[in-house]
Symmetry: C2
Subunit: 470 residues, 2 copies
């Protein structure tokens, strides 16, 4: 993020947190230079940007004021996730996912990283160990909350990053998706309002639909993540029960919230006594020097249910995830006993064995290095081959690239054309309800850019160019 | 079932199916003797029993008539599964299940058979094979509907029993419980009426609660299973959408419906266009000469979603089940992708490997023999040690014994006392809502009757005797 963007965001956040109210006079350009230590150019640029966004207004001969009707108001929208509409979108998502599962298709639309990056040999060794050591009674030992050694191993990893999570509050689930679903169910009743991001992981919208919850979507952008001003407004205007967010490598945007922003987010939710359901499945996939902490790390009050899994960074097929559920751990176990009973027992044991080998961190370092390289290569290819009108958003984490076509274009049409050429992409339509993000798509940059993939990027570029000509 | 009971049930079923209407004159005793080929004593006994149940009335000098207000009317009850009530019962169930998972407790309350009866060594060999052969891409190959070879193997087992089930309609799930939940969700909308048995597997009531469905409980008894007269009445009186039943080794009663009754059940549901969600997890655990077919075998119209798993007859910890879902297969895959994504990939592969060894049938034969023996031993011990006032219901399938205490006693109190002595039982309260079945409990007879178990039966007997004295 550039300096002027940082300053603008800081001011937006200050407004969100009530430091500046509508109609308040902001520090003048000169005062802001003194306050921020930034150059006049930078400050001026930031104010211009805020003005263009309608966040502040310039009054001649007077200065800059916080807009009386925040432009961000439109950044909140109650979203329809009624059954009829949702069925259509779910069928659509299902079709896109099915297409990505076809091995003859270049899976740019896939949500999973290239599984060849996972330590198959070592995992298989752990599986072989389990096949020698599992006892008849291990099923019972692995019932909810799940294998004790595994919960300890996960708690130790939290501790490694300076977080206090007790093994007793961890519930092992069949993947993070189950953890998220159970968490949402544990803290809501049908008809409750729940905040989701816009765009967001489609699993969140589907879960809300299934549990008959009302969705409130809050604007989220590829640079800064969720709009805290809009979030605050939503919390003020609606009796919100929970907030389902991704704070690291958000799906589909890829954005990771700054540490400061995570703190502000937690404070805001604490003030409103709203539960945070934090989907943190990409937390291990950062490419900067330090591992970004989840919002949970800043939550001393225990409003956060932190959900994650091994599916995106170690092995997808085992279907093992977890939730650090705090006081909700017991309720979540009850809900699990009613739905899937428990996560698979040999899979839990194999992970215990694998984690004990201490190879996990070595694997993760290698995984991050390769994913960062591949993303770089993919970005290069996209920049080189896609028309200049196409904007490419990306971040320092995860393996998704968020591609913005010109406004008049339709990524769903592109998706259909691409499938005919054996290429899948994930159109923006999958990550929202209503017509938003129609000209965006998510591209999975975890694949080695071999001849087939290179050719696929070229084909996509040609399809885009053809659509532009029409 | 004794002959007179058979005849009585046959007449009840004929009434249910409309062969005899209220007020109709039944064949006289003499005519019935000629019709049925049974003795005068038997027929007379059957008519007396029906009269005492209020199903028929005797008019002096005239004969026997179908009761004008069927006594079975009370055998249908809309059941409250509201959140508040359900949370209590769910907590109760959770506590009982947790107690059974404690290895220091004699698990008479457990729903699982003794896991030491499972072919651990061979399963581990299959796991070892998977650990050598699994590829990075196998995750994708095992996404819903699940591993193709596994679906074929399951379809072949259906074929073995003369049933036509295509691999294409099978969806592999994380255990039968997920299959049942997804099936119910696929065919209902919140507010719909669904028929369950009374008593029934608690998972059914929990699923109804979660999906905000209205439960209609239909009387089911340990001798004859579901009351078809009551079922017919329920179908006439309520706009029922689905019916969740166990036709083989019903949990908790253990009863298996006769072939004829399964046919009548299917016909009834077909007439009313009601979906049958058939929970058939104990189908392999029969002790007669022939494998009882599920209701699905008699359903040519495709109204049945047949759910089963390997958890009760091969391995519980793998968490692999399935549904033969007919036209609903696609919808169920969609719902699965939204909740748990898929069943674990190595577990699916291990089962494919195990089933290919052709050892499954050998294992099942041995399992049936041992389970039948153990049940016999347990029944002996119960008959010997329990007071004569206690009735013990059992059947030719499964490993559950349904124990009936005198009406004035409370099995929940017994359960609490038993837990203090490190013995778990499953009180009737778990299998219903409202106060019914308070004096019943389910006892798991799959355990070898060693010293510890023998002692536990003695302790239970003493606790019962003490409660009787009070």
């Amino acid at each position: 993020m550039k300096k002027y963007q940082q300053l603008a965001q800081q001011i937006i956040d200050q407004i969100a947190l009530g430091a500046w109210l509508a109609g308040d006079k902001l520090p003048s350009l000169r005062e802001q230079v003194a306050l921020s230590g930034m150059s006049f150019m930078t400050v001026s640029h930031a104010y211009q940007m805020l003005e263009s966004q309608g966040v502040i207004v310039a009054r001649p001969q007077s200065g800059y004021y916080v807009a009386s009707r925040p432009a961000t108001r439109s950044a909140i929208a109650p979203v329809k996730v009624t059954r009829d509409e949702a069925v259509d979108i779910n069928t659509y998502i299902f079709d896109v996912l099915q297409a990505s599962a076809d091995s003859t298709v270049v899976p740019f639309g896939s949500a999973f990283p290239d599984p060849r990056l996972f330590p198959l040999q070592q995992l298989n060794r752990s599986l072989a160990t389990v096949s020698k050591t599992a006892t008849a009674m291990s099923v019972i030992e692995n019932l909810p909350p799940g294998n004790e050694a595994l919960r300890h191993a996960i708690a130790r990893r939290y501790a490694q990053h300076g977080m206090q999570v007790s093994p007793d509050e961890i519930v092992i689930t069949a993947g993070a998706l189950e953890a998220l679903n159970l968490s949402l169910q544990a803290v809501t009743e049908p008809g409750d309002w729940v905040i989701v991001e816009n765009p967001c992981f489609y699993g969140a919208l589907q879960a809300l639909e299934r549990l008959r919850l009302k969705a409130l979507s809050v604007a989220t952008d590829p640079q800064n993540g969720i709009d805290l001003v809009a979030l605050k407004q939503a919390l003020n205007d609606y009796p919100v029960k929970a907030c389902w967010l991704m704070t690291n490598a958000q799906n589909p945007l890829g954005v990771t919230l700054s540490q400061q922003k995570k703190q502000q987010l937690v404070e805001l939710l604490q003030q409103h006594n709203v539960t945070l359901i934090e989907d943190d499945v990409y937390s291990e996939l950062y490419y900067g020097r330090e591992r970004p902490l989840p919002a949970r790390a800043y939550d001393a009050q225990g409003i956060t249910l932190h959900c994650s899994s091994f599916s995106k960074c170690l092995v997808a097929g085992f279907r093992i995830g977890w939730v650090a559920a705090g006081k909700h751990a017991r309720r979540i176990q009850q809900l699990q006993l009613m739905s899937t009973l428990s996560a698979s027992s040999p899979m839990q044991l194999a992970l215990v064995d694998y984690l004990a080998t201490k190879r996990y961190d070595t694997h993760l370092r290698k995984l991050r290095r390769i994913l960062a390289e591949r993303k770089q290569q993919t970005l290069q290819a996209l920049h080189q081959l896609f028309p200049a009108e196409v904007k490419i958003h990306h971040s320092e984490s995860g393996y998704f690239v968020w591609v913005e076509l010109p406004e008049y274009m339709d990524a769903s049409v592109l998706s259909e054309q691409a499938i005919a050429h054996k290429i899948s992409i994930a159109p923006g339509k999958m990550f929202t309800t209503g017509g938003a993000w129609h000209n965006y798509f998510r591209l999975n940059a975890s694949w080695a850019l071999g001849e087939r993939e290179q050719h696929a990027v070229e084909t996509l570029a040609n399809l885009i160019k053809n659509q532009m000509k029409e």
